[in-house]
């Protein structure tokens, strides 16, 4: 093991450019696989857990009694369905919207650490692009999804779609600002915008150090992900399916999939920023001790996702004017208050 690591370090010193390229390509392949498989599991999990909340079974035919292959069957169905583009649609924008959505998620995934490996007494973070400003970058890339939603809604040339697109845009603007302020508050406490360093600096979880910021970030995150009670852009009882009404087949599948990709990435982001990321006691068992940071992060992410489904099954959908009201009149002032708190506490402990 030591020999391999030594030779890798040697190669990195000799050919830094090629080394970075190899890491980039291999990392990109790995994260796209991990994120997409993860999102599939999230969809399956949501269907199962939501069914449980509603006293139903959920998928229980394809792939045994747990219905684990249901998503494979759904994917085959979506891929083989007829691809319909409405005659009056703005074709270029219509076709590109799902692709932009996928790109947005992949951009987020590139900078998010998916955990760490505990080798030789220290944590090696698993991140493809370890940037100095990754927190800000992730925030910005996450809001690209709103652009994709607007593209889809606008280009469909459909009344329901355009209403959904407008709602999505109004919501995004109202909540992206408090969310950004919360990220800044965390960065001030951590003295860094690098997500890896933010995790390493959490001797006490920021959820406890700035509880107000945590609450605001959670609400803003749910809004950003467009989940109940903030799913106005696709409220099916009002505007059919909102921005993706006209989409069908795999184009719809991509848009739908990205929502769950984002849910997964958002949960990881929440765990990293506020819940100590992959921190946790090392499990003193061989092999398990290497992946124990991964296990801790996974556990936190699963709990966050479970809570989101819980919220979905028990809350009503807010009206769009109530959503923007809440965003501008409550979330923004409170997040600025939290920023002040972070500056005070941060400078005291610095």
């Amino acid at each position: 093991m030591d020999g391999i690591i030594e030779s890798i370090t040697q190669f990195q010193a000799q050919e830094p450019a090629i080394f970075a390229l190899i890491i980039g390509v291999v990392g990109a392949a790995i994260i796209s696989a991990v994120v997409n498989v993860g999102a599939m599991l999230v969809i399956w999990g949501e269907r199962k857990v939501l069914s449980d909340f509603c006293n139903r079974y959920g998928p229980n035919r394809v792939g045994g009694r747990w219905g684990i292959l249901q998503l494979g069957a759904d994917a085959i169905k979506l891929f083989t369905k007829e691809d319909i583009i409405p005659g009056d649609a703005d074709k270029g924008v219509y076709v590109w919207a799902p692709i932009v959505a996928s790109m947005a998620t992949m951009l987020v995934a590139a900078a998010i650490p998916f955990g760490a490996l505990h080798i030789g007494g220290k944590d090696i973070p698993l991140v493809v692009a370890n940037m100095d400003i990754s927190a800000l970058y992730v925030e910005a890339a996450l809001s690209l999804m709103a652009i994709a939603v607007f593209m889809a809604g606008y280009s469909s040339n459909n009344k329901y779609s355009i209403l959904g697109a407008f709602r999505g845009m109004a919501r995004m603007i109202a909540y992206e600002v408090p969310m950004g302020v919360c990220v800044i508050s965390v960065a001030i406490m951590a003295h860094s915008l690098n997500l890896v360093e933010i995790v390493q600096s959490q001797t006490i979880w920021y959820a406890f150090a700035q509880p107000l910021g945590f609450v605001i970030f959670v609400i803003a995150l749910i809004t950003d992900l467009g989940r109940i009670p903030f799913d106005q852009s696709e409220a099916e009882e009002e505007i059919i399916s909102g921005y993706n009404t006209e989409y069908s087949g795999i184009r719809w599948g991509l848009l739908y999939f990205q929502e769950y990709n984002n849910a997964l990435l958002g949960s990881i982001l929440l765990a990293i920023l506020f819940l100590g990321g992959w921190q946790g006691p090392i499990i003193p068992i061989p092999i398990l001790d290497i992946v124990s940071p991964l296990i801790w992060l996974l556990m936190k992410v699963v709990i966050i996702l479970w809570c989101m489904i819980w919220v979905r099954s028990s809350l009503f959908r807010l009206r769009i004017d109530q959503v923007t009201d809440l965003g501008w009149k409550w979330m923004l002032p409170l997040s600025i208050l939290n920023l002040g708190w972070a500056v005070l506490i941060g400078s005291y402990f610095a």
């Binding site: 509603c54 009882e237 809350l315 009503f316 959908r317």
Partner: protein
């Protein structure tokens, strides 16, 4: 409280000679034929002097043998007294025309439109005499007249042929017969009116406004009806309603079936409330026949109708909650699960889950099965605790009150004037319940309250519905204690031909006041059956409520009315 004969004498003294013919059936029913010239004055007298503030509906009758048509105005009061006045206005069969009551009663609008399109009776002074239930090609055919031949005309043996229109749609086309071509009568004179589309597009004032369809295929609608909203941004400026997507013509079908067969059609009007529909029809026929229902059968009917009310309220509430919260909302699934228990109870008696056809003339089809009371006593306390839990849950939910409170509020006076019924009326604070106003069966012996709300908004409607479930449970528990043993069917022989006569019978449907007006001409089939459905009445108030609200609230208002388009269209 005044009774029917006092109402009659009051009319006779105020308008001498206006009452051409009259019959006081009981203290609560007055039948009178009014001079068609004086009907407006009589109605004005009734509404201002005698508290007849509830216009309950109107029925058209085609008396082809007498060569005249009749419009029967059904008038009642919201609690001031219990008299139902059935005022008949006669008009000749050639160019039939009567005065419109829309100036006096706002809600006469839809009832008169229906009579106009079905019978061709013109209403003088009606503001919008447009088709409501029928499609355009049937207009002018007057399908509920007795000499209607069917569409396409089945007497000629011709069938409609399928053609493809220039736009590519498949349509049915009825070719003119050679005789018609020869006589030159192919072009039928159709009444002139703007189409639904033209009417709503006329309202678009600027580029910022657009018409959005909520229905007929939409996640919001509980059945097919078209609700078009004119929106500017997120605001609804005006709403338009079009019915008739599932118009089955049940009233006409029942004229062509035997008396007993008619019961099965009442099931299909609204399948979540089929027992009270059964009751309404059978009660009216029993009234004509003068049948006494044995006490045990009366109790069985009450038990089943209240059970049916509970399950209807549960599905009505649950469905509505999904409109506001999304389909993932867990309490709705719990309501459906609880409803299943009630359905099983009803199924153990009637053998059917939805369309029961259980009530018979002078009794019920079969007795309660062994152990039914024990089963009921097991399920009812559970239902009670569950319902209380739901009430508490909604009372504590802040987002629920944000979305429901002060949404679609109706003031009591407006609710009365618009002729709402059921939960919409009671949520507005008007204690109007047929079980108290026009008691039937053993309801007078039972102790229960009429649940009312205070604000008349969507939250109150849900609250009233849930608290009505508690009252129903209370009623069933009393019935289980009191039910005597004995026969379940009347001893009297029920004739195949019902003697000539007419009756109007009202029951409290889960959705409100349901009335059936049944006429017999002594034959083996009903001469005319008019159904006064509760949702048809409430439905009419939807469009004015939607003006100026947000789109999301439009859904929350429309859903809170516990809609059943199947019953509104009949």
């Amino acid at each position: 409280m005044i009774n029917a004969s006092e109402v009659l004498s009051s009319i006779q003294s105020a308008f001498p000679g206006a009452v051409l013919d009259s019959r006081v059936e009981s203290d609560r029913r007055l039948w009178a034929t009014i001079d068609s010239e004086k009907i407006l004055d009589v109605c004005k007298h009734l509404s201002t002097k005698l508290n007849f503030d509830h216009y309950s509906g109107a029925a058209g009758v085609d008396w082809i043998a007498r060569n005249e048509m009749e419009v029967v105005e059904i008038m009642a009061s919201h609690g001031a007294h219990q008299v139902v006045a059935m005022l008949k206005v006669k008009t000749p069969r050639e160019n039939p025309s009567v005065r419109s009551l829309t100036g006096l009663y706002w809600n006469a609008n839809w009832y008169e439109r229906e009579i106009w399109e079905m019978f061709g009776i013109n209403f003088e002074g009606h503001p919008e005499q447009y088709p409501l239930l029928l499609s355009d090609e049937l207009m002018g055919a007057w399908p509920w007249r007795k000499d209607y031949k069917g569409y396409p005309d089945l007497t000629t043996g011709e069938r409609a042929i399928q053609i493809t229109t220039p736009e590519g749609y498949m349509e049915l086309h009825v070719p003119p017969t050679p005789a018609e071509v020869e006589a030159g009568t192919v072009v039928k004179e159709r009444p002139k009116y703007p189409s639904f589309r033209e009417r709503e597009e006329k309202e678009i004032k600027s580029d910022a406004e657009m018409i959005m369809h909520l229905g007929p295929q939409h996640a919001m609608v509980p059945g097919p009806f078209l609700l078009d909203i004119l929106v500017e941004g997120e605001r609804v400026k005006k709403a338009f309603l079009d019915l008739g997507y599932i118009h089955k013509g049940i009233e006409k079908i029942m004229e062509n079936r035997s008396w007993l067969q008619g019961i099965t059609y009442t099931d299909r009007m609204c399948y979540v409330a089929s027992l009270s529909n059964n009751e309404c029809y059978c009660g009216a026929v029993e009234k004509i026949l003068g049948l006494e229902v044995p006490l045990r059968a009366q109790y069985i009917r009450v038990i089943l109708e209240e059970l049916s009310r509970i399950q209807s309220h549960l599905i009505g509430t649950g469905e509505f909650l999904t409109l506001v919260a999304g389909v993932g909302y867990a309490p709705w699934q719990y309501m459906i699960m609880d409803r299943e228990k009630i359905i099983s109870l009803i199924e153990s008696v009637t053998g059917a889950r939805l369309t029961h056809t259980f009530v018979r003339f002078g009794g019920v089809r079969n007795d309660l099965p062994e152990g039914f009371a024990e089963q009921c006593r097991k399920v009812l306390p559970f239902m009670k605790s569950r319902t209380e839990e739901f009430i508490e849950l909604f009372a504590q939910d802040p987002i629920y009150s944000l979305r429901m409170e002060n949404i679609g509020s109706i003031a009591p006076d407006t609710a009365k004037r618009m002729g709402c019924s059921g939960r919409v009326l009671r949520a507005a604070g008007v204690a109007y319940d047929m079980r108290k106003e026009d008691p039937i069966l053993v309801y007078p012996d039972l102790d229960f309250k009429v649940v009312t709300g205070t604000r008349g908004d969507s939250a109150d409607r849900i609250d009233v519905t849930l608290r009505e479930i508690l009252e129903s449970i209370h009623i069933i528990e009393q019935c289980l204690d009191k039910i005597p043993s004995g026969p379940i069917k009347t001893e009297a022989k029920i004739p195949k031909k019902v003697p000539a006569g007419e009756a109007y019978y009202r029951v409290e449907d889960p959705r409100g006041e349901m009335g059936m007006y049944v006429i017999s001409d002594g034959g083996d089939k009903p001469y005319r059956v008019k159904v006064r459905g509760p949702f048809y009445a409430t439905f009419q108030t939807l469009t004015p409520l939607l003006e100026g609200v947000y789109i999301a609230d439009a859904v929350a208002i429309a859903g809170s009315m516990d809609g059943c388009p199947s019953e509104a269209d009949r």
